[in-house]
Amino acid sequence: MRYTLFILLGIVFGIVMYKAEAASWFRIYEMFSFQSFHMYGFIGTALVIGIVGLQIIKRRQVRDIDGRAITLPPKQKSLSRYLIGGIAFGMGWALVGACPGPIFVLLGSGLYAMLIVIAFAILGTYVYGIIRSKLPH
């Protein structure tokens, strides 16, 4: 069954985020205070490998496991939604010290306070769904 593959990838992701400290509130605070290279190095390494890897996949027209052509969905053209939405998320990221993935990694590590964050994040997404037609996109 393929879902075991996704669980396995998730486990590796969880271990990486925890062990390389991207799930540490202290590291996020340190990043936004420009007091260490750690998180910049983390994201920068991921980007260099990600850009090169995706270019190779695209240029060689690699197909996915089901034989379909690989196309990443292009993002909608807009400024306001990315800027305003991005700022809102950035404020939450700095406050909680974790982005969505690490929130669940920390829950698994035994930090049960994350259940509150998760419940309100689901509520926040729901609020967006309700009022999205009134927001600039």
């Binding site: 996704f6 669980i7 396995l8 998730g10 486990i11 590796v12 992701f13 969880g14 271990i15 990486v16 985020m17 062990k19 540490s24 509130w25 202290f26 205070s33 007091q35 260490s36 994201i43 390494t45 991921a46 980007l47 490998i49 990600g50 890897g53 690699v62 996915d64 496991i65 379909r68 990443l72 969905p73 993002k75 909608q76 939604r81 990315y82 939405g85 991005g86 700022i87 809102a88 998320f89 950035g90 404020m91 939450g92 990221w93 700095a94 406050l95 982005c99 929130i103 990694v105 698994g108 590590s109 306070a113 998760i118 309100f120 994040a121 926040g124 997404t125 609020v127 967006y128 769904g129």
Partner: protein, 184 residues
């Protein structure tokens, strides 16, 4: 085993996250974690009265399995792959945080004053933080994984705007609001 239980350097973390993103692409998927919040809303039945959640969320079940894996990964890391893991944050950061009332800085993985002490202020911080994360990621159409890793790797300019937004928001929070929230 020594290297497994020691903290992993940033280049190991960054490389492995990129590898996970590329493997997901080869599996015909897209690395984006915050979509799970929308999927959970849809699975809880929000689609009955809100069209944004009325879609085939079951096609996104793979991402929920990935989420389950992330929780298990956190459990394994904290219980079997670490021995009191303390991030080696800079001395400047430690002394700054000590002055802000975080005595656990430099001595713990996360600030225990914030997450292990159930005051009204702390619960409010987690609630507001959660709301901003859930609302902001969906408004921006992605989080650190969908925009900063997947979108930027695909050289999409909307992701660059979003990541700029993430940083503006983070800087506003840490430099303007933290002094008001965390008064020692």
């Amino acid at each position: 085993m020594e290297s497994l239980s020691a903290p992993w350097p940033w280049y190991v973390g960054g490389s492995l996250v990129a590898a996970i993103m590329l493997i997901l692409v080869l599996l015909g998927r897209y690395f984006g974690f915050s979509s799970n919040f929308r999927t959970l809303c849809a699975a809880l039945g929000a689609g009955r009265h809100c069209s944004f959640f009325d879609y085939d969320w079951k096609a996104q079940r793979w991402n929920l399995w990935f989420l389950v894996g992330a929780v298990i990964g956190g459990f394994l890391s904290a219980n079997y792959l670490s021995d009191h893991h303390v991030p080696d944050i800079s001395a400047t950061t430690v002394s700054q945080l000590h002055r802000m009332g975080f005595a656990s800085a430099g001595d713990a993985y996360y600030p225990i004053e914030l997450f292990d002490v159930w005051t009204v202020r702390n619960i409010a911080i987690m609630a507001v933080g959660g709301l901003l994360i859930g609302f902001g990621t969906r408004y921006a159409g992605g989080c650190t994984s969908g925009h900063a890793i997947s979108g930027l790797s695909d050289l999409q300019w909307p992701s660059l705007v979003a990541v700029a937004g993430f940083f503006i928001g983070g800087l506003l929070m840490v430099h303007l609001l933290f002094p008001l929230i965390f008064k020692s």
